[in-house]
Amino acid sequence: MDLTHCPADEAFRAEARAWLAGHVPAHPLPSLETGEGFAAHRAWEAELAADRWSVVSWPEEYGGRGADVMRWLVFEEEYWAAGAPGRVSQNGLGLLAPTLFEHGTPEQRARVLPSMATGEVVWAQAWSEPEAGSDLAALRSRAVRADGGWLLSGQKTWSSRAAFADRAFGLFRSGPGAPKPHQGLLYVMFDLQDPGVTVRPIGRLDGRPAFAELFLDEVFVPDEDVIGEPGEGWRVAMSTAGSERGLTLRSPGRYLAAARRLHTLWRTLGSPEHVRDRVADALSGARAYQLSAYAHASRLLEGGTVGAEASMNKVFWSELDLVLHETALDLLGEEGQFADGAWSEGYVFALAGPIYAGANEVQRDIVAERLLGLPRGRR
């Protein structure tokens, strides 16, 4: 048992740190959830990609550096410590890319991944529907067989990034009348610019269009944009959901950096007693997530898996993120009310954490049933 990174990982850390020091914008980019900010974040992806820092965990042939999960954790620590911008391509990087590596064809990978790595194509996710949220398998949007492909129709919602993104991926019902709701589903990629797609941006709490409703009316997608076998979409998507809830969606580096910033803010404001406990707990919590991720990474590198444990991560980081930001706003007092404050947008973003990527109530059910072995019951 040890906590020492190998020399190659430390050399990688030093290289990443040096590059970030020379490239991270001196001032924060405009909000990702605005047209101007989206373009600025897209340009940042291109800058990262130009020196092969946008997708370090991918194989070199797709623009990556072949970093294993431990080295990726190191990269993320450096990335967030350097104050680098949020990732506009997160949906694609965290959800679609792992699915393509596991279930995609070589042709799909060659076609989709390079433009994702540069930010030239930004991907939105299209999971939820008005009547299918936590109970995703209740989805009703249809895929009807057509010559050489499928016609997609229906309504998707809470599609993050869709207000400004180029393409989307999601699940559609291709086999109506299947005996179980998670059978007969199609995992497919489609173009948000298609004339059959209507994107209606939705303002989140602060009014910014962080997500959108999608209305699809007989949108044609060719067979080559289907991932995995038709009807097997649920299984394909669940491998994605697993990686979403695991380490790759929210790395510990993000919270270590935020906890340090919170501590600095607290000191700058004279170390007020009223939030002392919460600042200390934020530092410990971020360290706990970092160490837990090292343990998970060690297990993965030995060929092990991270299964339902990922649900514990989801609950932990989403609640840690909220506490971090709430504490910062409490510290800032009246100043914390301003929409352009250093912690404001992060706070609004953190509020969504316990809801997306599988609501925390569902995650707790998974922990209780799959890790503790408690009997299933009505939700």
């Binding site: 048992m1 406990d277 160490l291 444990e309 109530e361 922990v367 049933e369 408690l374 009997p375 299933r376």
Partner: protein
Amino acid sequence: MRFLPTAEQRAFAASLDAMLTAAGTPSAVRSWAAGDHTAGRALWSRLADAGVFALAVPESCAGVGPLPVELAVAFVELGRHAVPGPLVETVLAAALLAGDPRRPDPAAELLSALASGRAMATVGAPYALDGDAADVVLALRDGEVWRAPGARDARPCLDRARRLTTPLPGGELLLPRTPPAALGWARLATAAQAIGVGAALLDRTVAHVGRRVQFGVPIGSFQAVKHRLADAKIALEFARPLLFGAALTMDAADVAAAKGAACEAAYSTARTALQLHGAIGYTAECDLSLWLTKARALRTAWGAPHECRAAVLAAALATDPPHH
């Protein structure tokens, strides 16, 4: 990096777990609480034979250590079985004596007795746990380490298997200065014990809610019940890496963070365990009480929550980037 227990460390935990399961530890706890130390003493000898008390002691002083990771592994199991006695205090006494290379002869002899399990020690700062049972009573007085001539005023505690005593005045000065790193061993061992206490409380409660039927179904099928247990599981699972991270670095802030998180997780698990057991859990007769009361006691032993947080903040201060 491989931040996982080795096969040997897992086997060590499993062997202690099996030994303590076979030994019927709950009845030893109950007799210890009643003032009969015989069964507890027998357990102590077996733990010593397994090498538990030699882990904090360097090989040069008749120990097998220092092996803080193995010590943490062992103390998780001691907590899981609610083993009675001044376990942490004996480790602390050994760490104190081992921490001063200029220790006088009596201290060196004592150290060897502690490592081998021949002697059970307690440490008063100011209270000494189980001073009525211990062979050796150390007292921390104004930065000095004394061997007191015994202890008095054993008072029952909320954890009935713990009796706090007061070291008798006088005695023999062993070390002119308290070795500063020694307290880290006490905190680490307490944190590990708390993780084990929490794990036992969680296991017992999961078993209970799976068996207990109300409204025609096991109460463990209710979300209100599941979610409390899921939160307990999450708190314990994220305290565990802090514990082993601290054991690897033995850094004061890491140890304090581990102690704070482990004891908080154990205590909140205790509250959940009590609530979900209902009235039966509130009785002294139910074995759950052995762990419930210990979770409370460990929280303030060798570093109350505010002291642990202060150590975490002090370390963050030292590594803070400069600001204006």
